[in-house]
Symmetry: D2
Subunit: 316 residues, 4 copies
């Protein structure tokens, strides 16, 4: 059956849901895919699917902290796989130091001399890392003491962050909110971050073992226990692959898929790989509603979360 | 003065203007740039600047037709520089054939055999081009007869499209609406399109000369007569460069600049060139508020037009 | 029949042809496509196909001038469709001013104040445009006098550049070499360049009409007269589309296709459109050997031309 | 001092070193950066710097296996940080199954039904993973028995792969060759791969603990023990960040930097982040010779390794 291209009509839009519906109706190009992403999210939620979010990058310096916490609080997402960077920057703010939009400096060398770290056009001020280290080392040691009196501690990112959440005083913290709402966070390689380096530093004094196998077990159990699942993939890298592979040992697949990325398919890398490629691996079903939005995560993720919150409040 | 990264708050959003304001407040990454684009647009409009839009690509198959006509009708834009493709596809629809979202076909070879042309995931159906040709040749001949009884016609894209607009019956046509609202359209190389090929075909029988110098004169006059101007650059290519160079012979520059593109800077091409590079050429002033949004035009342009329409209606 | 991925073996490489053959044998990813491009080029040449090159951008500031002239002199290419920028920058050098690799300047504003124009990380020095203008205006006026004593001149980019070539003293000039070797150059919109602005300036005093229809006629004749053709597409934009559409009115198609681009398919634009999409339009045959190399033109084009020259010299 | 853009001259090229020198001389755009990468590599080697390679993606299906082993054998690289995918695919081939260039299949669903896994345009045949699993489980169990009779094993990717290398019969294996040449391989998150899933499976029966902290300690020691170092970054993701952060706890930095990537800077992600951004973090010195080549790793890495091998043989 033939279906015409609908022309996006600005006059039809008086809410974020209208906006995304109007995009969906066009049916084509980037705008069409953006609208389809909302449709798949809402359909998956209505179908009772659990939403597993993979989140690459350093999204806290990018202003996405409250987008994530709102997604958690509103019941939009059920599980997070992310980077050590995202957790490190969340904790920097949780310990009281805000990232900066603007720093007047001539060069990265000047930034270095002043102790300021740059993440594209966002900045960690001078006080950020020293304050982070002062705070986190006390907490790591406390974690060590609490969990293990026998001189050895085998743990995992998920276990540590679940413990850490309630200790934080900042109600806006992703780590804290996730633990409050029982949304597990997995950091497949916490060692790959400043947080990881701090854990390593403490492990020089008190044996701390972060066992990769432990998280791998737990995330597969979460997948196994979820009847239906939507893979919501924000960016690429390890979080994307690690989340998708959680279905490999299962006889189920992800039933819904949304990917948001600027990566491209032609390098052959997993970050830019299509969701149909994931079908060949048995990660997603062929019949899965699925879409890739080729756009910036910091544009698309806020739109999806805002649409979800708006719809949730409307229903009340 | 230090300014913290603001975290996008979905709860703050109950309109498209709220949405873009919330993006603007983050101040960083892609979301921050998207918000800044709205700020610059509104500031330029408040300042009385004329908005010159360069529009690359084939945006009608991409569902952007009404976005453009709404931008014209609402007074958001004052001049358009675009491709022959955009005009050709607008006319295909003006002559009664809609583009399609979906065609079941095994391959591009099957499409070809069925006479269907593909533009990424949009399609011109079998009837599109034959019907276009039947209609346009009559109009080209009529244009010829009207304008020139002496056997020779020197014209330009702008002149032809101004004449053509009122002849069209489709009230949604970009060409028609632009002529109704006196928004000039320039197609720097109308020869580079199926429309151009049809003009060439008719020029075999009746001398039609499309003089590149004529449009070049007229667009520079428009620039000269506009005290202040915003360059709103949607995509790259000839439309971008042609619009920006209209300031080169003038002692003024564009005072505001917004670019929306997925092209990248590292190839050295003009399409991905930064707006600060344009400063070195004297196209934009150093002090110009300016921003490049690295995102899909079919996502960003509808957002800007919708925000403008929403604000305009609110003010009434 | 199954074919294994070959692993690129550096030990097998002792020439540029070896290099590209080794890439071709891998058969996959970017390297495989690069190798395939050489295979198609050589196969097309062996088959007697004419090679039509579309060349976007400003490639002279990018160090590609001699790559183009060598491709012409060695008989690799038969026709060029390009931008006004490429011609303008070729003439800047032909008139004696070299582009610069490096300029110490704090900002684009400083460049502007010093009269230096930037093209990514290449620069037109202070003397470049004034010297260009001094020289070109004399030549434009001479062209006018020569071609037309009756007060009106209807011309085209191809006609002007054919006339201009022999007037130039620089043996490295693309325009000069092309005219020496009877390789026609088409600039579909010469108005879209500083050269175009100069022609326009002179046309204020002496009527010069650059008729778009004229080149359109001539390029179609070239296509018609070539039994077989390879479309060698370097970058996107108008040159790509204009060259490909030269087959639309013909009952032939391009039989070979090579595209080199960093543009991506998902925006829906022609620049990133696949060569199979071109099949649906009847520009390329389904059976055409064809490949897109997703890489920088300034890397891939020199490789292809060097391989061709090396092979040509080897055969002697 | 002013330096003109050099125009790449195909006639100057009769070796891969000539090729890259010619690119370097242009000094601009993508070609110039490619040439500069060779200059930095050779300069770093001449300076006695250790070369640490970060290698993202699944490069074995992309035909890069022998490029890596040749780089090891020729003494070009001293340490590798990579993904579990790269190791998994290396082992698939080491156990006797080759990746395929081409599979005739209608869809990813057909591939799935046939047990074939796709990596862009390369394929793991039906036998690939079953054979991998049969072989690797024996080796994992043997590793377990060898290393630990006490019922518990704490290990790391580096330790496991060092042990595994000599067990492999395939002389082309990256893992084997690396162990032969004492080039350590780090996989910061071996759990994120099919290999990792197999280790996890075996850990159900016999306790295997892969401790993230262990590799983190060892790689920092390697960095500490290397007087001078070149960060050779092929692709982004965890390998890039993990390798660069190995300097954070040290009072030294990387002194040379080469990045090859198609990722872009504007998303704010680490994969596309510039090497000057790394200066602000203290990973690279401001004075470091450094360059980013925006191109496909499967094109650029073979060029650099081939140039190195050619030069090494020439010197003999």
């Amino acid at each position: 059956m033939k279906k015409s291209v609908h022309h996006f009509n600005p006059e039809n839009v008086s809410s974020i849901n209208d906006l995304l519906d109007e995009f969906a109706k066009t049916g084509v190009f980037g705008g069409g895919n953006l609208g389809k992403a909302k449709d798949i999210l809402f359909k998956a939620k209505a179908d009772g699917a659990k939403v597993f979010l993979s989140l690459a990058g350093a999204m806290v310096p990018g202003g996405m902290r409250k987008v994530i916490t709102t997604a958690i609080k509103s019941g939009m997402i059920d599980l997070i796989v992310t980077t050590g960077a995202n957790i490190t920057h969340d904790l920097i703010e949780a310990f009281g130091v805000k990232h900066l939009q603007r720093v007047d400096a001539e060069s990265d060398q000047e930034l270095r001399e002043r102790g300021i770290d740059r993440v594209y056009n966002a900045f960690v001020p001078e006080t950020g890392f020293p304050n982070f280290e002062d705070n986190i080392k006390i907490l790591i040691d406390e974690f060590y003491e609490t969990k293990n009196k026998e001189g050895q501690l085998i743990t995992s990112s998920h276990e540590f962050l679940s413990w850490l959440g309630p200790k934080l005083k900042d109600d806006e913290s992703i780590v804290k909110v996730a633990s409050q709402y029982s949304v597990p966070i997995f950091v497949p390689v916490i060692a790959d971050s400043v947080l990881g380096l701090q854990i390593w530093l403490r492990s020089q004094f008190k044996t701390i073992i972060v066992d990769e196998m432990r998280d791998l077990e737990v995330i597969q159990n979460y997948f196994h226990d979820s009847e239906k699942t939507l893979a919501l993939i924000a960016g690429g890298g390890v979080p994307k692959n690690y989340m998708l592979q959680s279905s490999l040992m299962s006889d189920k697949d992800y039933q819904y898929g949304i990917a948001i990325t600027m990566d491209r398919v032609e390098t052959g890398g997993l970050s830019g790989a299509t969701l149909t490629e994931a079908v060949s691996w048995g990660k997603l079903t062929w019949e899965s509603p699925k879409v890739t939005v080729y756009s910036d995560v910091t544009i698309v993720l806020p739109l999806l979360v805002t649409a979800w919150v708006e719809e949730s409040q409307h229903k009340k």
